[in-house]
Symmetry: C4
Subunit: 218 residues, 4 copies
């Protein structure tokens, strides 16, 4: 059987990084345009703004999630020596999920109703969001595994091994967290949301720096 | 007759790549903002979300189409040694099509009605989308031909010849596929849509990698 | 009098180019999101789409205008050796105009009514658009003059002189064209629009390449 | 207690700059999409456009604020030799504020009513905007302090000290200005707005260049 026409490969990872950075940056910045300004609130503007808690919570969670995946993605591609056609395509699937995240975020903003009457759609909204986060974490692991298997990391074998170990060490928890949060969200949506917030806060806290500073002070 | 004022040329391709990457990344990420959140679905949110099949299908097709054109474009410009004023302008025409694609995508999302009652506008919507894809593939070939004719590829003649052959080999199928899908779409819109999906899935599958992995396993 | 706190200068032009490319790319790609999909057109979708002529015309003009300014801007910054705080700020003013252009574009899309009944707002819409284009061209000249006066171009004086001459040679026509089109637009809006289209088509045509190809063939 | 899984560090600041530039560029360009085109204004389009003063004022203030923070951020990261996980996370918090700014901008556009009847929400709107600006300035200082404490600047100690001094010298005024404008905005909203405009105009004026040119002429 004749070989199908291959996608033209390009080995330089610069374009991949530039394009990916663009998609990450746009997805993370687009999150804001769906936050609606309260209409005709007059002198009650402050309470109207404060009332939109679910909107800010979902914004924060989504922003942190994309930010964290961007950090992971940067660390992964920094360790690469080159890319190939397969990596480009898998990367495109990851970006598909990243670019899609603003949609489940908006669903959550619409159907979460923290401390208010229930909308009835909380379970679906929280789980929908969690599934996309879960798939994003999964795709990052797939990308790392693929790069290892295809020898895309530098020739420095020790480096590569180290990379691999760190990928395992580090991404597995995210994957488990997001899986658990998704399943919990199906039963107790607000426990799921609390978990998303916890993951976001935990990951954004410069844990090691804080500890180092504490040690220094101690 | 006096020569008209030329556009100032610049030879460095870095800016061209950065600007193009930006347009590709924004166009591909903007696709999501038109997906509407179901209103007042309450506990029927899940079925309301699942009901929006045409929206997800069109999103997937458009995302993959832009992604593939981005890969092709990156491979083309990576092979360039410099750019000239003509290339910049032809590139601008390609970007015009890329930036425009979200519009036919939205038209398709509005007028496709998979498995539901017909909207009556399916033929137009599918063909409109196909024509833009067809023109995108055509502009890529024109860009490649122009770069070859004007000697913009490296001085390495063998390399250049190879590039050229690969461009022909690879882009012609896309062109034919999209042309056929467009014409079919005019008669049987859902056959056209099925073809778009097939092209997207086919191009995103890392065919050679899969085969190599299979051979390794065999 | 004590010196006011200066903005910290940075001399590396890479960030300036990256940020500017981003703004250009986003402004040019955002133009599409305001094109409305015809609602409930059913089997009349084709004629509903064709009916939106002013929308496509304004889209084309705005896209080409931003594209041309991007090309000019790239040529200018490529010739720079470094940037200073003043250049950064003037550049920010140019970007303010570029980022603002989608608004007059939308005004034109709303108030032009090619071949249809008049909206009454054509004059204002066409002149508003023209004024922003005029200011964009003006800011480009100001940027070039500033860079020359402050010695931001390379130390190669001959190069610099050449740059300067070319800037004058080339941008003055745009400035005059846009000025004339704006004033004409106030009296005869559709003559103004026709001029915008002409400028767009003229600038995008690779005139010199076409002539070279003709000479080759002759 | 076992160490928590660290975020993978990456030391190369290029990705950080590219991603940050993307977020800055998108946030600054997105500001325009919320400016609404007057509907059915007919021949009164000009007065309808002029009537939207608060919209343009808020647009100008927000554009200049993001632009200035971008310049400061560029100067800071240019002086860095490397980044670490803590810097990445703090930078993410700064970007969270930058990406969020379009929302308070829209609130101000909705609730300011320059020279018209009061909306009742001016105080809240002006203070909300000011708080975000204040936090942005604060985060810039935190980033600079963090980079100094963690030794992320070059090994050239004198350079580092200089950097540090300049950061203090320069950012403290912004912080004070924004704090004062916010508090004043709570009492006299239009005094707050006037201060925002003043800061924007002051920072965008190339003060030193103007003085140099004056001296030259004198």
């Amino acid at each position: 059987m004749k070989s199908p026409p291959p996608l033209r490969e390009f080995k330089n990872k610069t374009r991949l990084e530039a394009f990916s950075d663009g998609v990450f940056a746009i997805a993370i910045t687009l999150l804001v345009i769906e936050i609606a300004v309260p209409q005709h609130a007059g002198s009650h503007l402050l309470s109207a703004l404060l009332h939109e808690r679910p909107v800010y919570v979902a914004y924060f969670i989504a922003f942190m999630s994309i930010g964290i995946v961007w950090i992971e993605h940067s660390a992964l591609t920094e360790a690469l020596e080159r890319v190939d056609a397969g990596f480009l395509r898998l990367n495109l699937l990851l970006l598909l999920l990243v670019a899609f995240l603003p949609f489940p975020t908006r669903v959550m903003q619409e159907y979460l109703s923290l401390l208010d009457t229930e909308s009835g759609g909380e379970r679906t909204a929280v789980a929908f969001f969690g599934i996309v986060l879960f798939l994003m974490s999964l795709m990052l692991i797939v990308l790392g595994k693929y790069a290892e298997r295809e020898g895309l990391f530098g020739s420095d074998a020790a480096e590569k091994r180290l990379e691999d170990n760190r990928v395992k060490y580090q991404l597995a928890p995210s994957l488990v967290f997001y899986g658990v949060a998704t399943v919990l969200g199906l039963v107790q949506p607000y426990v799921g949301v609390a978990l998303y917030i916890l993951i976001g806060v935990y990951l954004i806290l410069p844990v090691r720096t804080v500890r180092r500073l504490l040690h220094r002070g101690g």
